[in-house]
C-alpha cells in the first residue's frame, strides 16, 4: 500500500513543523499557491512503520550475498557512516570560509593524496559526483587538452565493445564520435582492429582494465604505445579498480586520466542507486584542466584551488564541491585500511573470485574465457543451458533470489550470450561462497528436472516477475487519487 493510501486529511506529524503558521503579507497573492501540493497526511509512527516495512522488501549487502559483477558490493563499514555524519561535518555550509572548515578540508586533502598514490597519478580532483560524471570529466579534459594545443581535428574516441554504456554516451556528450573496437576470443582488445582504427582523428581511448570481461588486458603497454604515438590520450575507467588496488597502478600502465568509483573500491554505500563519487586523477600534462575546486595546502592552511588560478580548468560540475559526505566515508575507509589493508583488497577479492570460478567450473558451468585467470570477477555463460534446456541467464538470476542470493549481473557485457558476471568481493567468507555454489548446482538440477521452477521464479519475493512491457506502454509514473 502506498503512503498516500494511508493518508487521512488533517493528520500530521505534529512534532516536525512550526507550532503555528506564520503570515507572509509581503508576498503578492497572485504568486501564492492556491491548492496544497499532494503530499502524504500521516502520523510520525505511520511514516516510520511504512518506510521500515518498505526497507524490508529490499535485498542489500547487509542482508544478502550480492555478487553483482562490476559493482563491487563489499561490506560498507558502519563506522564510515557514523563518523561522516558527525554533527560538525553535517553542519558545514558549503560556502563557509576555509577558516571554519580546516578539519573537513584536511580529510579531503589527505584523501586526494592517498588517491594519487594508489593510482600513480600526480594530480587528483574530488569533484565529480559519480562514475559517469568522472568519465565526462575525463573526456572533457582530453578534449580541452587537444583544443589547447590547437589540435582540433581529433573528433573520435575509441571504445572497446565490452565497455560500460556510459563510455560511449560520455564521448557523445563531449562532442566526439564513437568508434567501437572489437574483442578477440581471449577477451583482449583486438590489436589489429585497434591499429586500423587509430589515426590523426583519434582523440583518445576509453579502457577498463581489468576489462568488463573479468580479465586483465595483458597488452596494455602496447595499446598505450599505439595511442600515444598517434597523439591520442588514454582514459582509464576505474570501475574495476578493486581488482588491482595495491597491485598495479593505472599511472604505471600509461593512462593519462582515470576516474575512480569510490562507491565501489572505497566501499561507500550504493544507497539503492547512489550517491556515488567519481574523483579523477590525471598525468601532469592534464593537471591544468582538472575540474574545480581542488583542495590545496600551503603547509599551514588548507584552501580551495579555483578557476582564478586554474584558468584552463574544464570548470565546475556541481554547485559546490561534489559529494563531500561520500568522500568523507571513503576517507574513513581508507584510513581504516591503511597501506597494508589496501594491498590486501585485491589479493582477497581475486582469491574469492578465482575460488568461486574454480568451484563453478568443477560443478559443470561454462566459462566465457576458460584458460584465463579471474580478476576480481569472471563470466559464466549459460549458452549451453539456453540451447539444451531453454533456460536463460534471467531464469537463473531470478531463481537465485529464491535461494536468498542476489543475482549476479546478467546480460552484461553484451557480447557474451546468456552471461552471469560474478564478483564476490573480498569481504565474503568461504562459507558464503560455498553456499552460492550449492545453490547454483541445485538450480542446474532444477533446470534439468523441473524447469518451470526457474521459468516461474522468483517464488519467494514480495512480487513475481513484473510486466515490464506494460510498465513502458501504460505509463504509470505517479499516483493520483482520481485514478484509483
Amino acid at each position: 500500500m502506498l503512503i498516500f493510501e494511508q493518508s487521512h486529511p488533517g493528520r500530521r506529524a505534529l512534532a516536525q513543523a512550526p507550532h503555528q503558521p506564520a503570515e507572509t503579507p509581503d508576498i503578492p497573492d497572485e504568486l501564492l499557491r492556491e491548492e496544497p501540493p499532494l503530499l502524504p497526511a500521516a502520523s510520525e509512527m505511520q511514516v516510520v512503520r511504512h518506510y521500515t516495512r518498505l526497507s524490508q522488501k529490499n535485498f542489500s549487502i547487509d542482508t544478502q550475498f550480492y555478487p553483482l559483477g562490476s559493482c563491487t558490493m563489499k561490506y560498507n563499514p558502519r563506522a564510515c557512516n557514523r563518523l561522516a555524519m558527525l554533527p560538525g561535518f553535517l553542519a558545514r555550509h558549503p560556502l563557509a570560509p576555509v577558516s571554519m572548515g580546516q578539519g573537513f578540508l584536511a580529510c579531503m586533502y589527505e584523501l586526494q593524496e592517498m588517491l594519487k598514490h594508489v593510482t600513480g597519478m600526480p594530480a587528483v580532483s574530488l569533484s565529480p559526483a559519480a562514475g559517469a560524471q568522472g568519465e565526462f570529466t575525463g573526456v572533457a579534459m582530453i578534449r580541452a587538452y587537444h583544443d589547447a594545443n590547437g589540435d582540433t581535428a581529433r573528433n573520435e574516441i575509441l571504445v572497446p565493445d565490452a565497455a560500460h554504456g556510459t563510455n560511449p554516451a560520455t564521448a557523445v556528450m563531449c562532442g566526439y564520435k564513437v568508434h567501437e573496437i572489437p574483442t578477440d576470443r581471449n577477451g583482449d582488445v583486438d590489436m589489429e582492429a585497434l591499429r586500423e582504427a587509430v589515426g590523426p582523428h583519434t582523440a583518445g581511448i576509453m579502457l577498463t582494465n581489468p576489462s568488463t570481461l573479468g580479465v586483465f588486458e595483458r597488452r596494455i603497454e602496447e595499446i598505450a604505445g599505439i595511442i600515444h604515438e598517434a597523439g591520442g590520450l588514454l582514459y582509464y575507467d576505474g570501475a574495476n579498480l578493486n581488482a588491482i588496488l595495491g597491485k598495479v597502478r593505472p599511472g604505471d600502465m600509461g593512462f593519462d586520466v582515470i576516474h575512480m568509483n569510490l562507491h565501489k573500491t572505497f566501499s561507500t554505500p550504493h544507497g539503492g542507486g547512489g550517491p556515488g563519487a567519481g574523483p579523477v586523477g590525471v598525468s601532469k600534462r592534464l593537471e591544468p584542466f582538472l575540474p574545480v575546486p581542488v583542495v590545496g595546502f600551503d603547509g599551514d592552511e588548507y584552501y580551495w584551488i579555483t578557476e582564478d588560478v586554474r584558468p584552463q580548468s574544464i570548470g565546475r560540475l556541481s554547485a559546490f564541491m561534489g559529494n563531500a559526505g561520500v568522500l568523507m566515508r571513503a576517507y574513513i575507509y581508507a584510513r581504516m585500511l591503511g597501506s597494508e589493508g589496501m594491498h590486501r583488497v585485491a589479493d582477497y577479492a581475486t582469491l574469492n573470485a578465482n575460488y568461486l570460478m574454480a568451484r563453478l567450473t568443477d560443478a559443470g558451468f561454462d566459462l566465457a574465457f576458460p584458460g584465463r585467470r579471474a580478476t576480481h570477477e569472471f563470466i559464466v555463460t549459460l549458452k549451453r543451458q539456453q540451447k539444451e534446456l531453454g533456460i536463460t541467464a534471467m531464469d537463473f538470476a531470478k531463481r537465485l533470489l529464491d535461494y536468498n542470493f542476489h543475482a549476479p549481473t546478467t546480460y552484461f557485457p553484451l557480447l557474451v550470450p546468456e552471461c552471469l558476471l560474478i564478483e564476490p568481493t573480498e569481504t565474503e567468507t568461504k562459507e558464503e561462497l560455498d553456499g552460492f555454489v550449492e545453490a547454483m548446482i541445485r538450480i542446474q538440477q532444477e533446470a534439468e528436472n523441473s524447469p518451470e521452477l526457474l521459468k516461474e521464479a522468483p517464488h519467494t519475493q514480495p512480487v513475481r516477475r513484473l510486466d515490464e512491457v506494460r510498465a513502458a506502454k501504460q505509463l504509470d509514473l505517479a499516483w493520483s487519487p482520481a485514478a484509483e
Binding site: Y51, K57, L95, H263, G272, S339, E426
Partner: protein, 466 residues
C-alpha cells in the same frame, strides 16, 4: 585487513581448489614490470576506536557556526526518523533496483517520491533524481534542446538571476554540444528579470528560457509574464525552484497560461544535511509530452504474473546501458539515498508542515532584515518582494565585517561581490525556521559592534520598529 574474514586454513583450502600455490600466482597475467612495490604515501591502518578519535577531533575543530547563509544550501530541521530509516542497511547498502523483485522497497519509495515531486511542482512526471541542482539544470537544458522540435538553434536564454554556480556548471556540461547560453541582465532596482530585456529576442529561434524563482537573490520573478512570453516565441520554459518555496508559492506547472515545461532544482532543503555541499540531489519534473526526453532513472507501477501491483524501472530505452552512444544522457547513478531521505521528510512534513516551514523561514528572514537594517549602514539592495533570502548592502567594506563575524562563530551570509561585483559590499542573508529571535539578535548585535568599530564615528542605530 579489517574487513577480510579469511582464516589461514580458508586460504589454504581455497588455493588448493584453484590449484594455485599462493595468492601471488593469481596475478600472473599482469606483466611483472607493471607491478607496484609497497604502497607508500598511505599511512598505517587504524582500528575503529582510533579513527573515531581522529574524526571527532576534526569535526569539533570546525565548530558549528550560527548559519545565516543560504545561496543554494539551507540549514533546515531534519526529523530524527529521516536518517534513522535512510541508513538502515536495507536502504543504505542496496544496489540500483535492476532486480525488481528483490528491490520493491526502493522502487516503491521512488514511485512515491516521483508522486510527491509532481505534486510539489504541479507537473505530470518526475524522474528518480539527478546529481544536484546545478547539473540538473545542465540536463534540463539538453533535454529542452532535444524536446523543442520547433527550434533548431540550440539557444537558451539564462537570466543572470540564476544561481552563478548553476550557470557555470551548465556551461561546463553543455559546451561541447553546440548549445548557446545567452545571459539576460537583471533590473538593478528590483533584482528581477525584466520582460523588457527580452524584447530583442522577440521572433528569434529560442529553444528555452530558464526562470529561477525565487531567483538567486531570493527575489520573486514575474513568472506568469515570462512564461507566456517564452511560449509565444515557441520556446520551452525551464523552471528552477526551491522545493520548500513550492509549498507556499505557485508551482511551476501553474506559471502563466500553460505552465513551465520542465522544473528542476536542488533537493537539499528536503531533509538533506548541508554536509559541505553534498551529496544532495537534483530533482526533475516535466510535462507528459516530454517524458521520453527525460534523462535518468524512472520508476513505473505495473503488475506481476499474479496481477499484483509492483514497481520497476521503466523507459530504460532512453538510458546509456541500453542506448549507449544514443542515450539521452550518460547519467547512470541517481542520488538514491538522498531521495530516500527526501521522501521520508516530505511524508513527515506533509503539505501543511512544509508550508509552515516555508512561512517560518520567510518570517525569520524578514525579522533578520528588519534587525540588521536598523543599522543605518545596512540597507536592502532590491525593492521587490522576496522569499526567505535577500541581499543587504553595507556602507562599510563587507569582507572585514564578515571576518569579524566569523571570529564570533557567525556565518553572516554570502558575499555577493564574488559573483556580482557590481553589487559591491552586499551580503545575501537567510534565516531558516531553525533560527530563533535570540540568534537574530546575536547576529544584529555583533554586526552593529563590528560596523561601529569599522566606522570611527559609527553609524547611528535606529530604534527598533517591531
Amino acid at each position: 585487513m579489517p574487513f577480510i574474514p579469511h582464516t589461514e586454513s580458508d586460504v589454504k583450502d581455497m588455493l588448493a581448489a584453484i590449484g594455485a600455490s599462493d595468492i601471488e600466482t593469481l596475478f600472473d597475467e599482469i606483466p611483472d614490470k607493471l607491478r607496484m612495490g609497497k604502497l607508500t604515501g598511505v599511512p598505517d591502518g587504524m582500528n575503529e576506536q582510533e579513527v573515531t578519535r581522529l574524526m571527532m577531533e576534526r569535526a569539533e575543530q570546525d565548530g558549528r557556526p550560527l548559519c545565516f547563509m543560504g545561496a543554494g544550501a539551507y540549514d533546515h530541521h531534519i526529523p530524527a526518523a529521516v536518517w534513522e530509516i535512510t541508513t538502515r542497511g536495507e536502504f543504505y547498502s542496496a544496489y540500483t533496483p535492476y532486480q525488481a523483485e528483490a528491490s520493491q522497497g526502493t522502487l516503491q519509495l521512488i514511485y512515491e517520491f516521483q508522486t510527491m515531486m509532481t505534486g510539489l511542482t504541479g507537473l505530470d512526471v518526475s524522474n528518480a533524481s539527478l546529481y544536484d541542482g546545478a547539473s540538473g539544470l545542465a540536463e534540463a537544458v539538453l533535454m529542452a534542446v532535444r524536446g523543442n522540435r520547433k527550434s533548431k538553434s540550440g539557444r537558451i536564454l539564462v537570466p543572470t538571476t540564476v544561481h552563478p554556480e548553476y550557470r557555470k556548471t551548465t556551461h561546463t556540461i553543455v559546451k561541447n554540444q553546440d548549445i548557446e547560453l545567452v545571459e539576460l541582465p537583471y533590473c538593478p532596482e528590483g533584482g528581477n528579470t525584466l520582460v523588457d530585456s527580452l524584447a530583442e529576442y522577440e521572433g528569434q529561434d529560442i529553444a528555452a528560457l530558464v526562470i529561477q524563482h525565487p531567483n538567486f537573490f531570493g527575489i520573486l520573478e514575474d513568472v506568469d509574464v515570462l512564461t507566456d512570453w517564452a511560449h509565444a516565441q515557441g520556446a520551452l520554459v525551464i523552471a528552477i525552484a526551491n522545493p520548500t518555496s513550492m509549498a507556499l508559492l505557485k508551482p511551476p506547472g501553474r506559471w502563466g497560461e500553460k505552465g513551465a515545461d520542465i522544473a528542476c532544482g536542488e533537493g537539499q532543503p528536503l531533509g538533506v544535511p548541508m554536509m559541505a555541499g553534498g551529496p544532495y540531489f537534483g530533482y526533475m519534473c516535466c510535462k507528459q509530452a516530454l517524458v521520453r526526453q527525460m534523462p535518468g532513472r524512472i520508476v513505473g507501477r505495473t503488475i506481476d504474473r499474479d496481477e499484483r501491483e509492483g514497481f520497476t524501472l521503466t523507459l530504460q530505452a532512453r538510458e546509456q546501458h541500453i542506448r549507449r552512444s544514443k542515450a539521452t544522457s550518460n547519467i547512470c547513478t541517481n542520488q538514491g539515498l538522498l531521495v530516500t531521505a527526501a521522501t521520508i521528510y516530505m511524508s513527515l512534513l506533509g503539505a501543511e508542515g512544509l508550508r509552515r516551514v516555508a512561512q517560518a523561514c520567510h518570517e525569520n528572514t524578514r525579522k533578520l532584515v528588519s534587525a540588521l537594517t536598523a543599522n543605518d549602514c545596512v540597507e536592502p539592495v532590491f525593492n521587490r518582494p522576496y522569499f526567505h533570502e535577500t541581499p543587504l548592502r553595507l556602507s562599510v567594506p563587507v569582507e572585514g565585517v564578515a571576518r569579524s563575524l566569523h571570529a564570533h562563530n557567525i556565518l553572516p551570509g554570502y558575499l555577493m561581490a564574488q559573483a556580482y561585483p557590481e553589487l559591491g559590499d552586499a551580503l545575501l542573508v537567510c534565516a531558516t525556521e531553525t533560527r530563533t529571535d535570540a540568534d537574530i539578535e546575536t547576529y544584529a548585535s555583533h554586526l552593529n559592534r563590528t560596523i561601529d568599530a569599522q566606522t570611527k564615528a559609527g553609524c547611528p542605530v535606529k530604534p527598533k520598529m517591531a
